[in-house]
């Protein structure tokens, strides 16, 4: 590798432990001026920890950091931005009751009073220099994810950052927004800034970066020039062995209609329509993918079907097994307790795993039991069966846990998700709703989850899958539906629309692709 630029950051032999677990062990990293470096690794590989060390959030146990050739101690985020290092965290560090402008100047030294006009002018100037759009007076809580990200980047630039670290910046963006971000990053690179982008999306590494540093289990697993590498090589370095990147889509004949949602309307807290006459059906043996930018009504849709969100119009019909055979039962407005009592085997994997899906401070056995204890007789709880199920899940799903009696909040995101999904699947549901089941999970776990969803489909479950990654959504789903601002598109065949078309539909309701839609 030959570098014409000089190195701006050199981290040597960085080690950081949390309690008994080691996040990074003797990791080295170099960043050159005017390059985009991808930091690649699975969850728990220590990439975010390493960058948090550079940004002053964590202090390393050992190792040295040099910035612009000088050895430095970075003890706080303030130290970091005085060295010209700015980090855009995956979970944005913005105060949502403040405006964009206020967030940008937060914590900066200056006169007693904040001069809004001056800030707005400076922010606008920066924004236009790199090709951003931003309203400085807009409150953060009124902003979309991509606007918030823009604020974060401008915040770093406003502080004079020459070294930008972005932690999974594209995780929540639409393809169009991602393209826009990449253009901005390229502009910044032209301007002489050095950028580190943490990601585990391989095609993005190839599209944007100059070099990639790969971490595996907290240690260096190689550095490659992007031009001379492939997705396969990257994966192999990341995981430690070759992994197939194809998502299997088992072909099974479509079964009965299990769930029919028609003209479903729900109101939001401000009485506005958060879901507006949404209609679709889910069939046994099929995965229905639902796409949409965040906040388009996905959460409310899932919760309304699961009986957790009030319905103000339309109906939800569920294919039930009754003593007289199967019939479509109208479950609209039933609370979740009644849905359960009527023996409807619907499983819901909410996006908020630890808030809504599991009880974080209870152990695995109790969490498994939560779903079933009401149907066991007697005054006392019987933990025998849940304990068996827990042991089986650990085996089958390869859950990494110290034991079945460890509180689930202590486990990593991937393992928590496996427990949640495993518990839901162990009840043999006929409809499975999975909201963002791979959010924040690494490649291996994600593929495991895709595989589990595929298995459910083979067993004849109607699967509803809400996803963020359009590539995955389109590969995994048999049918796809786009939600935009509470309104649903027609149900489409993912083989007949392109990713860009789906992206357009996510942003503009009523936008229809050139080819006609297929009927459900």
């Amino acid at each position: 590798m030959n570098h014409t630029g000089k190195n701006v950051v050199r981290m040597t032999n960085i080690t950081k432990t949390f309690g008994t677990s080691t996040a990074d062990r003797n990791v080295d990293l170099e960043l050159y001026k005017g390059e985009i470096l991808a930091l690649l690794g699975e969850n728990g590989s220590g990439k975010t920890t390493l960058m948090n060390i550079l940004a002053g959030i964590y202090f390393p146990d050992s190792g040295t950091i040099e910035v612009q050739g000088q050895e430095v101690q970075i003890r706080s985020p303030r130290d970091a931005f005085q060295l010209g290092i700015g980090m855009i965290h995956q979970h944005f560090k913005l105060v949502d009751v403040l405006t964009a402008g206020e967030n940008i100047v937060l914590g900066l030294p200056g006169p007693l009073y904040v001069d809004r006009k001056e800030i707005n002018r400076k922010v606008q100037e920066l924004a236009s220099r790199y090709g951003f759009d931003l309203e400085p007076e807009k409150k953060i809580y009124n902003m979309s994810v991509s606007e918030k990200q823009t604020v974060e980047i401008l915040k770093a630039l406003y502080r004079g950052a020459d070294i930008l670290i972005l932690d999974e910046p594209t995780a929540v963006l639409t393809p169009q927004e991602t393209q826009k971000l990449f253009n901005v990053l390229r502009n910044m690179k032209e301007d002489g800034k050095s950028i580190i982008i943490i990601t585990h999306k391989l095609h993005e590494v190839l599209a944007i970066s100059d070099r990639a540093v790969i971490l595996r289990k907290g240690e260096n697993a190689g550095t490659v020039d992007t031009l001379s590498t492939t997705q396969e090589e990257l994966t192999e370095k990341m995981v430690g062995r070759a992994v197939s990147l194809a998502i299997e889509r088992p072909q099974v004949p479509r079964g009965k209609e299990m769930l029919r949602v028609s003209e479903l309307t729900c109101l939001g807290p401000d009485r506005g329509k958060i879901l507006d006459r949404v209609s679709f059906s889910a069939y046994a043996g099929e995965i229905l993918g639902i796409a949409g930018i965040s906040g388009s009504g996905q959460k409310e849709l899932c919760e309304a079907v699961a009986g957790l969100y009030p319905v103000s119009g339309g109906s939800i019909l569920y294919n039930c097994q009754t003593s007289h055979g199967r019939k479509m039962e109208n479950i609209t407005g039933w609370p979740s307790g009644r849905i359960y009592q009527q023996g409807i085997s619907m499983a819901f994997v909410p996006e908020d795993r630890l808030g809504m899906g599991l009880a974080p401070s209870m152990d695995m056995v109790d969490n498994v039991m939560l779903r079933s204890y009401r149907s066991t007789p007697g005054l006392f709880l019987n933990r025998k069966k849940p304990r068996e199920i827990s042991r089986r899940l650990i085996q089958e799903l390869d859950i990494q846990t110290p034991g079945i009696s460890t509180p689930v909040r202590r486990l990593s995101g991937g393992n928590v998700q496996k427990i949640l999904l495993g518990r839901e699947i162990s009840n043999d549901p006929s409809v499975l709703i999975a909201a963002y089941p791979v959010r924040g999970l690494d490649i291996q776990t994600s593929y495991k989850i895709y595989h589990m969803l595929g298995e459910q489909k083979k067993k004849g479950t109607a699967v509803i899958f809400l996803g963020e990654d359009l590539d995955v959504l389109m590969e995994l789903s048999d049918k796809i539906l786009v939600l935009c601002d509470g309104k649903a598109s027609k149900v489409m065949d993912p083989k007949e629309v392109s990713k860009e078309e789906i992206g357009m539909m996510m942003l503009h309701f009523g936008w229809t692709p050139r080819h006609q839609e297929v009927n459900p």
Binding site: I57, P77, V97, L98, G107, L108
Partner: protein, 329 residues
Amino acid sequence: MNTLLNLAAAAVLAGTPLLLGTLGEILTEKSGNINLGVEGMMFMGAIAGLSVPFFYEQLTLEAGASPSGTAGALMALAASFAAGAFGALIYGFLTITLHADQNVTGLTLTIFGTGLGNFFGEYLGYQAGGYAALGEELKSAFHNLSIPGLSQIPVLGKLLFQYNWMVYFAVILALAMNHFLRRTRLGLNLRAVGEDPAAADAAGINTTRYQYTAVIIGGGICGIGGMYMSMVTTSGVWVHNCVSGYGWLSVALVIFSVWNPARALLAAVIFGGLTVLRLYLPIPGMPIQIYEMLPYAVTILVLIASSIRQRRENMQPKSCGVNYFREER
């Protein structure tokens, strides 16, 4: 008409300690700390604010000089602030540095402060042979002012220009705090710390320093509110349990005033009025207990009304009750 005027003036006087307690707690909560020890800190301020001028008076009289009212008032102010701030410092050390539970720590501080105040209050009385009371010179420093010209204006004079100096002090404090939180850079930073300490930290704000400062100054202001009880409400005499729930009312008024110091002015006058209502609007046959219940009953109604969803800006600072630790995973 005259009754209403009297009621309004009495409401302002009774509302001032509530206002001070509320302001102290607003500042505290703006840093993301909910200190339920307001009652305790008020007790600590009440005893310190009474005993320091008390000893000052004793010493000067022994020396054969006559005590100065102004000096006594300033001592009361400083001592009560220091006592409240000391209570808040204990709270701050436990929650900010040691990450103890905020609710439990605050409740403990209330119990501690109540006990401390009453113990030393009784002791002071015992030493003085009966009860501890200030002399006329010091008491008069807390009497209602008579401003030449202004106080004589009909109606307005009575409504605005004839209170003791602490009323004006509290009002100015409220307006200044409002201005500080809304307009200044430090106020912006403090609000950010209370809303989202992780975001504030990432923006380079020293969250620990802001939290300590807000908690301690907030506690000091609560202490001054307590001093009002012992110096104005009971006119320089220690009365057992003199704070009597005003600290708790203040905690509720923080919610009523939606964390806005300017609205705290309104809240304090309304609740001050409720506490003295029976003296000015007696309804024949209405038991006194009903009147005494009134402020608390209205508090419950207010809490219910304010729990109904409202604008994001008008809600409790988001990190209240949660301790921030940067390296938490």
